[in-house]
Amino acid sequence: MDQDRSDLGTPGRKAISIHNLWAGYDNEIVLRDIDFTVYEGDFIGLVGPNGGGKTTLFRVLLGLLPPMRGVVEIFGEPIRKGRQYVGYVPQSVEFDREFPIDVWNVAQMGRLGHRGLFHRFTDEDRKVVAEALRKVDMFDLRDRPIGELSGGQRQRVYIARALATEPKILLLDEPMANVDPQMSSTIYELLKELNDQITIVMVSHDMTAISSHVKSVGCINRQLFYHGGKEISPEMMEASYGCPVDLIAHGIPHRVFPDHHHEEGTS
């Protein structure tokens, strides 16, 4: 399992490649004919309305939902095998505040994939977990019950848990839900730093926030519109419906539109 992953360091490699993907539940097709390639080193923000298929796409990438049709590969391998390179940060809306667990033990769950049944966590696991917690600045709070944390702190613990899996790709589902604005800019800074080594894909319904922090933006609403750039063309907006609603609702961010030429540091 612990194969040498350093050989994946070549820039420009395909981290995720999705071809002709159809996915959904029972009678409802949520994602239609998705083609999407993520290259190593990318930091992609996918925006779209709620119910547009953001979470469904993640479920497919995590092997939780088998695709109806199409091919999905992670570093050239099928999902079952490829998902070991993926660190997942879930949307943290529902949560049992009384669950008896501390920060350390949550982060340590990131090591489960490395220590199968009947194996105890090793010193190496503890080292990785400690490092992950330090990275998100939660090591000092490692004995704190998870229920006593603020939304932003909890989110950072989930990021640490994902980092403890030693991922090559980080998937974040609405990472700034339940996080106050100040904390969210701290988290964005952290993600930017992590992006030096890890490919990041995050989904959000909040385009304004996402577009000023990521390298490139895509729209997802049943279909996926992504051209590897940071601009959202009117065609993408129109086609992906819900997107312009967010745009207007939050005031039009300059960076998102092509050729405005008066980009100021207001973000």
Binding site: D26, L62, G63, L64, R83, Q84, V86, Y88, P90, D96, E98, F99, P100, I101, D102, N105, V106, M109, G110, L112, G113, R115, G116, L117, F118, R120, F121, P145, G147, R161, T165
Partner: protein
């Protein structure tokens, strides 16, 4: 009083009863903790009541009803577990239906059985005062089995309780672990049948764990405290029922219930240093 206690301890059935209370409390504390944190109290209730079908079958076919209860509760536990994982039906509805079917099957089978059904009530309401020494050994064995299984699968059980999605992404065999937990619940239920009866099994599984979850923030400590609380409740309830000549199972449950309410009160009064209680205090002062 002390003389009376010493006198009572001379009685074999009283010693066995106390011992049984302690032994089931261990399993209860461990398994109850998972039931409470994983929020499957309702499933455990279903398993307990479905077990009655097995008792009826035992009576009808003339074998030991406890064996029937074991088979029925394990099958019910696995069935409900699978239903919960696999179907998109409303899970609580399905469990409610299985719950009722198990119970009804038991009643009908007992109806169809000729003759005198002496200790039928003991399965429903418990009969801790008639636990034979052989049953104590079975309880001890079950405690050991449960202890070993939980120790072996501890990190996986914790993972599926906290975040099943993440656990499956990390290749934890979520379904298998969940079904192992369901089996352990079934065995615990049968074991507790002797002490408080099937109808009140839910209370014994949840109350000690629920109380300890109010005060500790670590899963292992929660199990230990739940076990200790269970022992306290069964022992207290047993003595009360002995001196007041009441049904022991029901007395144990009432003692647990009172303990639960007391714990809630204690928690509210002493353990809430949060803004919420501060506001409450300020409001009280203002009023």
């Amino acid at each position: 009083m002390i003389e009376e206690i010493v006198q009572a301890l001379q009685l074999g059935f009283m010693r066995n009863a106390l011992m049984a209370g302690v032994l089931v409390s261990i399993a209860c504390g461990i398994i109850g903790t998972f039931i409470v944190i994983k929020r499957i109290v309702f499933i455990s209730g279903g398993v307990a009541h479905a077990a009655y079908g097995g008792i009826g079958l035992g009576y009808f076919l003339g074998f030991n009803p406890v064996l029937g209860a074991i088979v029925f509760s394990v099958v019910a536990a696995l069935g409900m577990g699978l239903v919960q994982r696999r179907t998109r039906e409303r899970v609580d509805t399905v469990i409610g239906v299985l719950w009722a079917i198990g119970m009804a099957t038991g009643i009908i089978l007992v109806d169809l059985t000729e003759g005198y059904k002496a200790d039928l009530m003991s399965y429903l309401f418990g009969s801790i005062l008639t636990v034979p020494t052989r049953d104590l050994l079975i309880m001890l064995a079950l405690d050991v089995v449960i202890g070993i299984l939980v120790a072996l699968f501890y990190k996986e059980l914790l993972a599926i309780s906290f975040d099943e999605t993440f656990a499956s992404v990390e290749n934890v065999p979520v379904d298998t672990i969940y079904l192992i937990l369901m089996c352990m619940i079934a065995l615990t239920v049968v074991m507790m049948m002797r002490v408080v009866g099937l109808i009140m099994v839910i209370a014994m599984l949840t109350v000690p764990a629920a109380i300890s979850s109010q005060f500790v923030t670590d899963l292992k400590r929660m199990m230990v405290w739940a076990s200790v609380l269970g022992m306290t409740f069964t022992t207290t309830g047993l003595w009360l029922s002995y001196f007041l000549n009441l049904t022991s199972g029901a007395t144990i449950i009432l003692v647990s219930g009172v303990g639960y309410l007391l714990a809630l009160g204690v928690k509210r009064t002493f353990f809430q240093g949060s803004a919420e209680s501060e506001i409450g205090e300020l409001a009280a002062e203002a009023g």
